[in-house]
């Protein structure tokens, strides 16, 4: 039973990692790429770590899994935010499908 659950979690997790990698290649601009890289990436990696915790069912491994996920969830959005902000400010072209841009001409928090 535990084996099946672990297997399912591993497959879904690696599938999301694959989607994240494909998204970075396929999506049109750096802002939309960040969507794929942060969300699908952290969800996939999180599921892989949870699969390990479920399989071993030991306190030490579970605690480590929880801290890995916590660190992942705290760092991924910060990195994505910085990359998105830098690419926007350096004038990187945004996809022409973008139909509204309220940030344009509004400056932004300095520093």
């Amino acid at each position: 039973m535990i084996e099946y659950l672990t297997g399912i979690l591993l497959i879904i997790g690696s599938f999301f990692c694959l989607v994240a990698a494909l998204g970075v290649i396929r999506l049109p601009d750096s802002l939309t790429r960040m969507h794929a890289a942060t969300k699908a990436g952290s969800l996939g990696a999180g599921l892989l770590v949870i699969a390990h915790a479920v399989f071993y069912q030991e306190l030490g491994i579970s605690l480590r899994a929880v801290s890995i996920i916590a660190i992942l969830l705290f760092t991924a959005p910060v990195a994505a935010h910085l990359i998105a902000r830098t690419s926007y400010r350096s004038g990187e072209a945004i996809s022409d499908r973008t139909w509204i841009d309220e940030l344009k001409g509004n400056g932004g928090w300095p520093g």
Binding site: F16, V19, L22, G23, R26, L27, P28, D29, L31, T32, M34, H35, A36, T38, K39, A40, S42, L43, A53, Q57, E58, L59, G60, S62, L63, L73, F74, A76, P77, V78, A80, H81, A84, R85, Y88, R89, I94, S95, R97, T98, W99, I100, D101, E102, L103, K104, N106, G107, G108, W109, P110
Partner: protein, 158 residues
């Protein structure tokens, strides 16, 4: 919140007493400890622990639900040929004021699929968010304000 630490200590003691270091036992200890603290809650006059914990759990479950449901849309756009995305950058007026509140709102917005916080306005009152599937600006804005931000502020300010 010292009651939270007490709760964790209860769970740790329970785990040590049962002698089996498994996460299930520890979780059960947490729930048991919470029950004991709740029974003795008249002893702690001005604690917010019993109000704050359900709200935190509420925020976490809401967040996990969002994480799964809307990841599927990003997935669909990535694996099918052609693009269905309608990206846009919208400004969200913030009620969050302190650094920690803004940090949490911006981070959780970035983690919710379909939205990514790009920049903060100079007066720290507007957060600019890149939305991947934007159909209706007012609806998307209300969604973030009433969904994520309201829940975060409930936890932070209760």
């Amino acid at each position: 919140m010292p009651l939270f630490i007490l709760n964790i200590v209860f769970a740790a003691v329970f785990t040590l007493l049962t002698g089996s270091a498994r996460i299930g036992v520890f979780m059960f200890g947490c729930i048991l400890g919470y029950g004991i603290l709740w029974l003795s809650s008249p002893l702690y006059k001005d604690t917010r622990y019993f109000k704050k914990l359900p709200k935190t759990v509420n925020l976490i479950t809401y967040f996990l639900k969002e994480l799964f449901v809307s990841n599927l849309r990003v997935l669909w756009d990535v694996i099918t040929p052609g693009h269905i995305s309608r990206p846009g950058i919208i400004g969200i007026p913030l009620d969050a004021e302190t650094d920690l509140e803004i940090f949490l709102v911006a981070n959780l917005i970035s983690l919710t699929p379909g939205t990514l916080s790009v920049d903060l306005s100079e007066d720290r009152k507007t957060l600019f968010v890149h939305v991947m599937f934007l159909e209706n600006v007012a609806a998307a804005r209300a969604d973030i304000k009433n969904g994520l931000e309201k829940r975060i502020l409930e936890v932070m300010r209760s």
